[in-house]
Symmetry: C2
Subunit: 110 residues, 2 copies
DNA sequence: AGTCATACCTCAGTGGTCAAGGTATTGCTG
DNA sequence: CAGCAATACCTTGACCACTGAGGTATGACT
């Protein structure tokens, strides 16, 4: 599975966003990100699962085993209150940061 | 010197951009990035200098000792041909990537 | 003489990602 | 019904960029 060479640190925020309307399982989160990025981002599983565990350990996600619509067992993640706060802050940070980098990369004089 | 919590991987591209109109020394590159990001990005020197050495080692920058306008000795960096090519590619990559992440973070339905 | 800004550097530690391996189950298709 | 793709989870070692903190030296101004 070819990764997308992530800019480190952006994955966690996207994961939090993915579950912001309800519980989702890991594999589905990866698929959701790919789809919502118009196939630009392909999440490496070796990055995805450690990230989920990390976020759970930080108390930003809670996990629970369940069954998918297609009858498969899967671990479902949802946002905690802290996770929702974090998501909000991270989105602000991303906006500022990406605008700053874009400004730098389109500067037209020294 | 407080860093800006960089998203790993974005620094190199900004450095290449900084020297795209002519040679610049390391300390000045840090200042240039800060100014062109409207003070949003404060480059940690512990990130900056290793990055310069890295890029030089990769053949994307060439370095040469010189003297600044204010009469101080400093190491000046400029783009190599490979560096210019890399910069172009990295800017494209950043545009695609940042648009993708922004799309994901502003998705409005599951 | 002292201090600030400039200008360079290194190092240990941390931590996220990649690449590659693995297990198990469902469901489709030949 | 055998085989295989897709789903769904996981771990591990290696790599490497960044943080935070330390350091040296010089020019300019007070």
């Amino acid at each position: 599975m070819a990764g997308s060479d992530l800019y480190t640190g952006t994955l966690d925020t996207m994961i939090l966003k993915a579950v912001s309307w309800g519980a989702m399982h890991g594999y589905g989160i990866g698929r959701w990100i790919r789809q919502n990025s118009d196939d630009a981002l392909e999440i490496n599983e070796g990055a995805l699962y450690p990230a989920l565990h990390r976020l759970e350990k930080k108390g930003l996600l809670s996990e629970e085993w369940g069954v998918t619509e297609t009858n498969r067992k899967a671990k479902f993640y949802k946002l905690t209150a802290a996770g929702r706060r974090q998501l909000k802050a991270e989105i602000v940070r991303w906006k500022k940061y990406s605008q700053a980098v874009t400004a730098v990369l389109s500067a037209s004089s020294a």
